[in-house]
Subunit: 584 residues, 2 copies
């Protein structure tokens, strides 16, 4: 070993002992002939002292040292005269007798401090330096700990961690697959898994009873802000269970993680039907850290000759407490905000319940004070509150109100990162109609079981059928989701019909699962958590990027090692493919 | 829940309680109007009894039941009249009051028993049924437990489990990469990792200090008997350590696994230099469960006009205890065995030390009894022993003798699967000369550090330079290997020179690692264990295939779901590639 102790280990009790330390030069300063160095490793920082009388050789070496040099020192632990109470080793220092330079360092392109002066691009290019910074490394240590806690919890409950193939079969359903040409099978391709869904269901058919895996998944999508082409899931499946069993097990897991990693007790998770989430929060992943629920004003607000409302399918609003003093400028800003294409509202109506008791709105022409007060009553609005109203087609308006609610929550400081509000959203619709392709899509996936009591509706009103599907939502973020699965091959065939698969398509894509179901499939259900998102939430980050050691940028590039990259012609030849760059 | 207990849970103490069980019909038999069913789940088997007076509805259902039907039953736990001491639930049975068929089953294509009647192909096609068999599932449960024990051990020692990218940069060195076309970067490709080697070294540069990962790796090789295109490694790296520290840590891990999973104490692991392994065992992965060491007879056997020996570079043999009675036929068989292309010997010379004191050899014409006895002495041969001798070029002959030694070990029953002999093979050569491409290859990989005392030989006798590289070998299987790394960019450049890389090639392939080394790289070393092989050894299997839930066959196919497969033309177009099947 190059060291007897780490840089975070020595305390006053070790005073007088000889120690060998190794690490990086965090800082070097000179003071009255003495040289002080903060020596850093993963475990902490220890102060080194070189006095005036150091041998010439050491002095020579000392001169060369700059930030991020890797050195090894030997010396005696002694009490520090001016203690640093901010660090655990702050009561001691090392009186250095021997200094070895293990590796020199060029001047780093940004400072290796908790608050770096490096921009995003440079930090990503030199990711190995960025990872030296405490906040970045702390997140990855948290990630490692979380993975271990997940495994401990599930292993104690008879779950078998089982690896499923990374080289699997391509299926056209869902997002785009990454594909891998097979050299041994020319003209054929593997696909990287978007999820191990089918394999985990096969493991249930195989009688594994309880499966989990912390597993990489892949989606070749156009990368939006917080997407990565490869991401990690906590993937689980259980046999002989019903929805309640899955919710209880994974509510337990989530509580366990909060307890062990955040020392936080979160109470029992409320259940909220999808419909309620959409109508009260305008979102299937409501942030319940604050109220500000959406109210339906459609009946109240119609029939007063305000054409926009009279023609609207839906009118709804939220009440922002204490915002009645919003200025014209602030309201214009909000109006522009809701008109952005991402939100897509046509305009914003407001009602101010002023602190002097007066009421003022942008639609005073059409509504008298009593009308507006009646609206206020439906919100429980008080003096000082501001009501913000949108109208239009119901589902878009609810979405827009949901976004506006979150924005007002931000402005009012109601979204505290240290408060965690988990809940289950349940009773999702089984199917979603896509008006473009004129077909139903599975809202969760094609193997999701309808609620038994809704099965008769499959033939008459498929859009009304609810699924035994559920999402875990924390603070407005969908952390995980899952469903009870269909385990009966006839019902599964019927689902494929509804989703517009021909018999042949269903057979080609899912034939082996359907075949498996013929040999005695147990009832089963499962769930998957987005591991990166969960780490990000626990770390208080806004993005998943820094939960990943070596992430990719928005073009799917690793700018550190410049991947992807061209490959040799011969390699493509062996794979029996060629580039096709010119035909469009 | 569909059950109150599992099929492995109930005991005599639960007599009289009401229970609900669910599982698969393992066996159904009728006896004197009663019907007995063995109900199976992952946890065990419980006997169900349906008496003559069961309601008609139950009787009707009972008639339909065949093997592998999934059923749910409710009834009372009662003492069994004829106990089955072979299973933990053998003292009780369930007096069934209610029977529900959850899933029917077609007749399975092979019997779901510990000893199946299914051949390999059919078992792989219906892998989900094969996985129902206890021995197959037990291996996967062992695998899950082993992964957890590995993690517990390493987490307790400050290792951070860190995920590295699956979509990484292609490098021409080493085995063939699987590559993945990038849609967002037309004409460019990711590669799947053959190992996370460079990333783990970057994590050391990043100051992570101790890294591990249980990780999928990929090699696009022509698949030999026991290869899989995707396999799993326990991948580790440590900073500020020397070879001894790595050996101590991972010897500790290995002992921990033997202790916790096999309840076996293995002593301290011997260290054997590579040269000794090659000369005594003809292998760099010696099976030390038995002696039968190779002896060099070159000096003793030359000069007696036996042309084959006189012209041979090397003559060596092994002594098979108690085999002097081998018949002509057995010796011919052995001769043919060593002449197979895999072994490649030209012929086999034997000397029998008969129990009557006489000596008989296939080269009696050239050697007198005293000559032969002198050979015997060098082996410590006794009456009843058989000496088997090969000759030729030294390295091939040693290899062939190594194989012959293993074969004789098998025949003599010296390779007991319940005995475990771990050892470290150390002091590997740094470089291997490839006479075909006339260049040196890194024996371990290009980042392996030479022994400091051998560095001067790099310029004069590179082939003699020993590396700080080590392999963990158990029972003749290479379980893992690793090395101390070069952490100095000048020495690394020198290695790339020796390996015949131009400056540009080295820069293009490893430039980002070399750049990283410029910012203060700590001394570091690492190791990787073949996880599939370790599981296979602990499970007493001869192949890694059954350590993998969904393995591929020798053509890299998953015969269950028929992957790889053709993909849609449009998918290739999006990726800007096309097939190129006709040009050869």
């Amino acid at each position: 070993m190059y060291r007897t102790h780490t840089c975070g280990e020595l305390r006053l009790e070790q005073q007088g002992i000889e120690t060998t330390l190794a690490g990086w030069v965090q800082r070097k300063r000179e003071l009255g002939g003495m040289t002080f160095i903060d020596l850093r490793d993963r475990y902490g920082i220890t102060q080194l002292v070189f006095d005036e009388n150091s041998p010439a050789e050491i002095k020579e070496n000392l001169k060369k040292l700059g930030r991020e040099y890797v050195i090894q020192v030997n010396g005696l632990v002694r009490e520090r005269s001016s203690k640093n109470i901010n660090i655990p080793t702050g009561e001691i220092e090392i009186d250095v007798k021997k200094l070895t330079v293990l590796s020199p360092s060029a001047v780093p392109p940004f400072t290796i401090e908790d608050e770096s002066d490096g921009g995003d691009d440079i930090r990503m290019k030199y990711r190995y330096l960025d990872l030296r910074r405490n906040p970045v490394r702390d997140t990855l240590v948290l990630r490692s700990k979380m993975a271990h806690e997940v495994r401990s919890y599930l292993n104690a409950r008879e779950f078998i961690e089982t690896e499923t193939p990374v080289l699997m079969k391509s299926t056209p359903e869902g997002a785009r697959d990454f594909i891998v040409p097979s050299r041994l099978n020319p003209g054929e391709f593997y696909a990287l898994p978007q999820s191990p869904q089918i394999f985990k269901q096969l493991l249930m058919v195989a009688g594994f009873d309880r499966y989990y895996q912390i597993v990489k998944c892949f989606r070749d999508e156009d990368l939006r802000a917080d997407r990565q082409p490869e991401f990690t899931q906590i993937d689980c499946e259980m046999s002989f269970v019903e929805q309640e069993d899955v919710l209880a097990t994974f509510e337990g897991l989530t509580k366990h993680l909060f307890k062990t990693l955040k020392n936080t007790e979160v109470g029992d998770f409320p259940r909220m039907p999808y419909r309620e989430a959409m109508e009260d929060y305008g979102s299937d992943k409501p942030d319940t850290r604050f109220e500000m629920k959406i109210k339906n004003l459609t009946e109240l607000a119609k029939g007063k000759d305000f054409k926009i409302f009279d023609e609207a399918d839906f009118i709804g609003g939220i009440c922002a407490k204490g915002c009645s003093e919003y200025t014209r400028k602030q309201l214009d800003e909000l109006t522009n905000w809701v008109k952005r294409p991402q939100i897509g509202a046509k305009g914003l109506v407001y009602v101010k319940f002023n602190t002097d008791g007066s009421v003022k709105s942008s639609v005073d022409k059409f509504y008298c004070e009593d009308d507006l007060k009646a609206w206020g009553t439906s919100f429980g609005a008080e003096q000082g509150d501001l009501i913000l109203i949108l109208s239009g087609d119901k589902s878009h308006t609810l979405n827009a109100l949901g976004e506006l609610r979150l924005e007002m929550g931000n402005r009012l400081g109601l979204r505290d990162k240290n408060i965690f509000n988990p809940l289950w959203v349940v009773d999702f619709p089984l199917l979603e109609w896509d008006s473009e392709s004129k077909r139903f899509y599975a809202m969760h996936h094609p193997f999701t079981s309808p609620k038994p009591e809704d099965i008769p509706l499959l033939e008459t009103n498929p859009e009304q059928v609810r699924a035994n599907a559920y999402d875990l939502v924390i603070n407005g973020v969908e952390i995980g989701g899952g469903s009870v699965r269909i385990f009966n091959s006839e019902l599964q065939s019927c689902m494929f019909d509804l989703l517009g698969f021909t018999k042949e398509e269903a057979q080609a894509q899912f034939g082996f699962l359907m075949s498996a179901f013929k040999f005695g499939a147990p009832p089963h259900a499962g769930i998957a958590f987005g591991f990166d998102r969960l780490v990000s939430m626990f770390a208080g980050l806004d993005s998943i990027r820094d939960t990943i050691a070596f992430p990719k940028n928005n073009s799917g590039r690793d700018v550190m090692n410049d991947a992807p990259s061209p490959v040799a012609e011969g390699q493509l030849k062996e794979l029996r493919i060629k580039l096709d760059l010119n035909d469009r």
